[in-house]
Symmetry: C2
Subunit: 269 residues, 2 copies
Amino acid sequence: MTLEKLYSQIQEKKSFLCVGLDVDLEKIPAQLLQEEDPIFAFSKAIIDATHDLCVAYKPNTAFFEAYGVKGWMALEKTINYLNENYPDHFTIADAKRGDIGNTSTRYAKAFYEDLNFDSVTIAPYMGKDSVEPFLAFEDKFAILLALTSNQGAFDFQTKTVDGKPLYQEVLKTASQYENSDRLMYVVGATKAEYLADIRKIVPKSFLLVPGVGAQGGSLEEVVKYGKNDQIGLLVNSSRGIIYASNGSDFAEAARAKALDLQQQMADLI
Amino acid sequence: MTLEKLYSQIQEKKSFLCVGLDVDLEKIPAQLLQEEDPIFAFSKAIIDATHDLCVAYKPNTAFFEAYGVKGWMALEKTINYLNENYPDHFTIADAKRGDIGNTSTRYAKAFYEDLNFDSVTIAPYMGKDSVEPFLAFEDKFAILLALTSNQGAFDFQTKTVDGKPLYQEVLKTASQYENSDRLMYVVGATKAEYLADIRKIVPKSFLLVPGVGAQGGSLEEVVKYGKNDQIGLLVNSSRGIIYASNGSDFAEAARAKALDLQQQMADLI
């Protein structure tokens, strides 16, 4: 996937919505539990119901791994289904990986080549040689945690380093890594007021923005402070969309929630 | 696994060696590639050859995940083999996970309950609500990245925050989390001179120390600066042991390397 293609999808659909696939067997409609692979069945139904309203899908790998080998197979089926049926969508493995060089290369190959995701989320703590292996693949992107949407973000990310918050040091340092044009950054919608400062450091990069909806972030503020001239935003909603209903109308209810967000986005861009 | 049991293993074996299972199909003896599950066959042979010389095993999950469903099955077989045959060994899933609360709980359950590892490595960047879910399980331990052995550690971990390096802020903050007696910390052997300061902040905690051997860290210095009155160290070697030979004598060669480290350890404690 190229950035140009992602941007043209955004323009065409008037949407920068990313649907997060956090598939929890305790929350999906009971009827699906009789399927051979309930995790995939649920993911497929959500994808089919929302694909024209969003530009990206983000399976959170934790939810798949939690089911061991079966979960991993469901993840493979989900990404294969996306790549075969909706190849124009940007796909994100929300895995938050990061390890020393040769191990990061392993992870990168697993997600980019074997599973064929367009991108993977990664953690910055181990620095350059843990991040750069994820930037060595053409048309693949690493999405680095910068300022996350949770309360724990204030433990370290906002602490002052060299006169500025750590998350800004992360943005500044990472934007100098090799192939940093393949970097995107996670910035939580719950901290939208920080986006203006973030845009000064990474004006051109795409930002993956979780926290709209269930976590209380404001879409309007995210756009106000975070938009650049190519939009530059992927706003994620997971629970707010996929668990809109746990009845037999779950797919229609998910579509309605996605449509609501897409229409708000169309008004804002 | 309790800390008392881990300490008694260390005393009994005069060893605080952890063997890292970074299984790479390109590096294992060619003869094993004909096995039905070469990854497990290799892990099993290494375990059988070294179990009396070490107190812990640490599969790096990246190496297993790199092989998709097959790799995940090999990881399950490996941890099951350990738990059935060598239940006194401390087991570490080197996964470097970390996500917001409910997702961290998923990961914790996957590693502690489904796979039945004693511990899992985690990244600190997302703070308290990403770490505490890993501390909510009795006799299970989370091993937090503090100061890693790679060059990239200098990007952020050693930057000054409130007058001290970030890794010390991580240690100080994390040691106040709920159930922090279930925390251990990763400190690279390549930075052994930092261990004296680290011991002032976390005098009682176990430290998982990678970087002896292939990465050049000194065992003697690690013990000098890092040992506490219950040893408090798990020194890991991966490549230096498991790839000592890629011929048919690989298991014996691995044992010889492990024995060499164990004997050095016996002299130092």
